[in-house]
């Protein structure tokens, strides 16, 4: 079974960068452009990991993270924050909600992969 990764970011550019970074791995990437859409996709797809931005329209990443932790079916899903918001107060809030990683933008694609490798199985893509 392919590893499922959900990217929640309002920037199409970031979603494309994440997909490109993980293109060589045997995984399925799904996308959402805000927290509300992210929750719907997460409930439907049950991803193995969620990459989550903070500042987004409709529902921000912290609210989505809070909802994930209150949802019986999603509460154990590893969440990695991927955001330009790296103030101490943001990191502390996310840490309290039980995140598995915090990646500050700007990020390099290989650094993103290095942070995800210990968290999910990322085998090479089988052609």
């Amino acid at each position: 079974m392919k590893t499922k990764i959900l990217t929640v970011d309002d920037s199409r550019i970031v979603r494309i960068m994440v997909t490109r970074a993980l293109a060589k791995f045997d995984c399925q990437i799904t996308e959402a452009s805000n927290g509300e859409e992210g929750l719907n996709v997460a409930s439907r797809e049950r991803p193995d990991l969620i990459l989550l931005d903070v500042t987004m329209p409709v529902m921000d990443g912290m609210t989505m993270l809070d909802r994930i932790r209150s949802d019986a079916t999603l509460r154990t899903t590893p969440v990695v924050m991927l955001t330009a918001e790296s103030a101490q107060e943001n990191i502390a809030r996310a840490d309290k909600l039980g995140i598995s990683g915090y990646i500050a933008k700007p990020f390099k694609e290989d650094a993103l992969v290095a942070k995800l490798l210990p968290l999910v199985r990322l085998g090479p893509k089988v052609s």
Binding site: V14, M17, A87, N90, I91, P106
Partner: protein
């Protein structure tokens, strides 16, 4: 007076492998915490110990070319303590610009004098991000469409000539989001909690804003190869 020490990485920064806050944040924190008229002498010492901040303050205080202000205390009296805080906010902003260009795009960015190019040289695109809270204001990032096209091509791993208007707008928007997001995080760490607007990117055929109160509007020029870029910060208030 001792210069501010580089802040140590917090336990959370270490836990998540994040870079500690830059040294300039310690200076901004010091200014934010002491920005009352009672502390004028102390603030003058902080400014005097930072050549870049000193230069910015003296420039802001000089309203007539034939009467340059060369004394920090006089400049501080003329501009006010809040203007010094606004001027010190430029350090984290400039650092965020350089870091984002280098790490997100792999582009070398030279610092250029804002007066080394005309306002007409940076007409084309403008990204606007507002911040509001204990510090409120606006950051403008101006560039020609050609630079926007190169940025989009780099982020989308494509050829510049194949980039659509939507690609350029999205790429410049993400660039602005990353720059101002980093800047905002530094302001929060210095005690100026604030929120950001979603970046807007628009065609821009009007020159940058002109100075209002001294120190409240700053402009910084950059170049990537032959392409100029202008970053303006307008600080409305700090609380």
């Amino acid at each position: 007076m001792k210069s501010p020490a580089a802040p140590a990485a917090s336990a959370l920064h270490t836990k998540y492998g994040l870079q500690p806050a830059p040294e300039c944040i310690a200076r901004l924190t010091q200014l934010v915490a002491r920005r009352t008229s009672d502390n004028m002498e102390l603030i003058a010492k902080v400014v005097a110990g930072d050549p870049a901040l000193r230069k910015r303050l003296l420039r802001a205080a000089t309203t007539r070319k034939n009467d340059p202000v060369e004394d920090v205390s006089r400049a501080l009296f003329r501009c006010g303590v809040e203007a010094v805080v606004a001027l010190a906010m430029a350090d984290p902003l400039l650092r965020a610009v350089r870091r984002t260009f280098q790490e997100l795009l792999g582009f070398e960015l030279e610092v250029a004098d804002e007066f080394s190019f005309a306002a007409a040289d940076v007409l084309g695109l403008r990204a606007i991000v507002e911040f509001s809270g204990k510090a409120s204001g606006t950051v403008f990032i101006r560039m020609r469409r050609d630079l926007g096209r190169r940025i989009a091509a780099q982020l989308l791993a494509g050829e510049p000539q194949n980039m659509t208007d939507a690609d350029i707008t999205d790429a410049v928007g993400e660039l602005a989001n990353t720059i101002v997001g980093n800047f905002k995080s530094n302001l929060c760490d210095a005690g100026l909690s604030c929120r950001l607007s979603v970046p807007r990117v628009e065609d821009c055929n009007t020159p940058p804003p002109t100075a209002t109160a001294p120190g409240r509007h700053q402009a910084y020029g950059f170049r990537h190869q032959d392409q100029p870029m202008l970053v303006n910060i307008v600080v409305d208030s700090t609380q």
